[in-house]
């Protein structure tokens, strides 16, 4: 599903150049649930941004579902993001003047789906995350866990190949975190490929594979025995 070879990325900070990713080789199969761990500055968010086509790579190659991701301009990247990727952010990033349903329907709007279908589909995904009754509520009327579930529904609504989550539990208490992880595990059980960036070991242990990043290189890449979040809820 994801194929990365010899990935390099550096940032220019004035006259200095900061080499963040120093040759990453990494691949993800369909249906995997991967945690990317590492302390701050290890390059894990940069990796995720490159995977999400929010950032460009300097060197190396990136293939997503057999499509080589090269020479991206903004329009092409936007179309790929819309077709291939779903995003979940630490700070939810819901649009505050849109209801839960409208938020979920937004990626479908950019797929030019007609309004009726959009609404049906977004209701279906809200139902999956257990928030159907909250469809007409604004984000400000939802709790943190609910917001993140709406965000997950939004990411899933476009039926992406890969779900990318950047610290999805970072702004949540542990109980809600486990609820969100439970949801993510269920989505993964349906066969969806998911990548999670986190620095919390207990969250990482709820995935099937952990990739440790340190100073821009992969320190360790191991399969783990998945801890089911449902046990803690």
């Amino acid at each position: 599903m994801i194929e990365i070879k010899d990935l390099h990325k550096s940032y220019k900070m004035g006259s200095n150049s900061l080499h963040v990713l120093k040759g990453i080789n990494f691949s993800v199969e369909e249906g995997e649930l991967v945690a990317i761990m590492g302390s701050s500055g290890s390059g894990k968010s940069t990796l995720l941004n490159i995977l999400g086509m929010l950032d460009e790579l300097d060197e190396g190659s990136y293939t997503l579902d057999g499509v080589p991701i090269v020479n991206l301009n903004e329009t092409k990247a936007a179309n790929y993001r819309n077709k291939f990727l779903g995003f979940v952010f630490q700070s939810f990033n819901l649009i505050n003047y849109k209801t839960a349903m409208e938020n979920v329907a937004l990626p479908l709007y950019y797929q030019r789906m007609p309004r009726k279908e959009r609404e049906e589909k977004s209701l279906k995904y809200l139902d999956q995350v257990g928030l159907k009754e909250w469809a007409t509520h604004l984000p400000s009327e939802l709790s943190g866990g609910q917001k993140q579930r709406v965000a997950i529904a939004r990411a899933m609504a476009a039926e992406p190949k890969v779900l990318l989550a950047d610290e999805p539990t970072g702004a949540l208490d542990s109980k809600t975190s486990y609820e969100v992880m439970d949801l993510i595990q269920k989505i993964n059980d349906q066969g969806n490929t998911i990548l999670i960036v986190t620095h919390e070991p207990d969250i990482a242990n709820m995935c099937k594979r952990i990739v440790h990043l340190k100073d821009g290189i992969i320190l360790e890449d191991k399969k783990v025995k998945q801890v089911r979040a449902a046990a803690y809820v």
Binding site: A78, N79, F87, N93, L106, P114, A158
Partner: protein, 420 residues
């Protein structure tokens, strides 16, 4: 273009506009005010223009007056300071020699220009009024509205020197009982009884006579006051396509010739040219229209710039939202188009509201000034001007929307998302 007619696009735009209500309203006020000022001003200018038109309708626009004064130069053996007296045969001479002249009405009067007004009596009531000796042709130059049942002086009155008169509205009030029919009644003007044949209505606006002037046939006047061939002054109307200023010069030159006055003598004959005065006032009205156009467009411009300004701020405010949209698959073109369309939509919507408000205020002013003696009639803004203003707003709205739209697109989604 498909984008503009897509229902989804408008739902998205309408959503983002209606969810930021305060911002939307503040944004709209600028343009709304601009177009309101534009419509109000140009409508008012047009109303003024129409008003002047109406005022001048009662008199022939290219008309003039000539009267005799005294010479200021010796000429042909005559000494200076000779009093000029216009005569009836001057009228024929002028008519024969100056082809541009359409009508000449010689007049003579008692009560103006230093002569005593005439004591007029009817039964117990009396008053002193100006009395004019007139020819029927006078009505061709200054329209006289005569109330129902009456008439103005006609040719037979002149031929037979009848003792008939046309009185003014004020004479009617002062000499007759209320609701009394004056036609056919007799009043005593000076020492002679005259039969009333009509009552003239005071013309609104420019008028040569006041509402207490009495008109009698010229021939009757000259018999009564023994004025012979003398004429008080001449009212002259030139043809519509004639240059009245030139006619004025020609008339005075011919009169100087007839009366043996130095051609260089500027004081021998006095004149007043209505056409000249009229064109000055019309020039003023046109200047006003032009001014209102400039001010209106400048105000609209300021309003549109205001929209651009607020959209720019709102783009900054919405950086994160736009970043999220980009992450969810909005292409730069979609983001740009959305912001431009928001700008155009706001501009046009507030423009239309401004036009409606402006039209409302114009209608209100029209109602208020209806019964006031003020040159202001039917204030309207021509449809092409309104459409032009709307077009300008669409163009400006697009141009000004480009700035915040470009700004929105230039933010990379990753930077937008990072911003907290």
């Amino acid at each position: 273009m498909r984008f503009i007619f897509d229902r989804n696009t408008w739902q998205e735009i309408f959503g983002s506009i209606s969810k930021n209500r305060t911002r939307t309203i503040i944004t709209m006020i600028g343009v709304l005010w601009g177009i309101f000022v534009y419509i109000g001003l140009s409508g008012a200018a047009k109303g003024m223009d129409n008003g002047f038109d109406k005022v001048f309708k009662t008199v022939s626009m290219n008309s003039m007056f000539v009267w005799g004064q005294s010479t200021s130069m010796p000429y042909g053996g005559y000494k200076t300071g000779r009093q000029m007296q216009l005569k009836l045969d001057n009228v024929t001479d002028l008519q024969n020699r100056i082809p541009e002249i359409q009508y000449i009405a010689p007049r003579i009067d008692m009560g103006e220009f230093g002569t005593e007004p005439v004591y007029t009596v009817r039964g117990q009531k009396s008053g002193t009024y100006t009395v004019n000796g007139d020819y029927p042709v006078y009505t061709k130059i200054a329209t006289k509205k005569i109330f129902d049942g009456g008439r103005f002086i006609n040719d037979e009155d002149i031929e037979q020197a009848r003792k008939v008169c046309v009185i003014g509205e004020r004479n009617l009030q002062e000499l007759f009982e209320k609701d009394e029919d004056p036609i056919g009644q007799y009043i005593r003007i000076g020492s002679v009884y005259f039969q009333v044949i009509g009552v003239h209505k005071l013309a609104q606006g420019v008028s040569f006579d006041n509402d207490s002037a009495i008109f009698i046939p010229f021939t009757t006047f000259r018999k009564l006051y023994n004025t012979g061939e003398n004429v008080g002054y001449l009212c002259i109307a030139a043809y519509d396509d004639a240059d009245v200023v030139q006619v004025e010069k020609d008339v005075k030159m011919l009169l100087k010739n007839i009366h043996r006055v130095d051609p260089e003598d500027e004081r021998a004959f006095g004149s007043f040219n209505l056409g000249e005065a009229f064109s000055k006032i019309m020039g003023f009205a046109q200047g006003l229209t032009f001014l209102s156009l400039i001010v209106g467009i400048a105000t609209i411009l300021a309003g549109v710039i205001g929209i651009g300004n607020i959209l720019l701020i709102s783009v900054k405010e919405r950086t994160k939202e736009l970043g999220v949209r980009r992450a969810l698959g909005a292409t730069p073109a979609e983001v740009r188009n959305q912001i431009i369309l928001e700008s155009v939509f706001l501009t046009v919507l507030s423009g239309i509201i401004g036009i409606i408000l402006g039209a409302g205020v114009l209608a209100l002013i029209n109602n208020l000034t209806k019964d006031i003696d003020f040159p202001y009639t039917n204030p309207t803004v021509p449809i092409p001007y309104v459409l032009g203003a709307l077009l300008i707003m669409v163009v400006l709205g697009t141009l000004i929307g480009l700035i915040p739209a470009q700004r929105a697109v230039s933010i990379k989604p990753i930077d937008a998302l990072r911003e907290e």
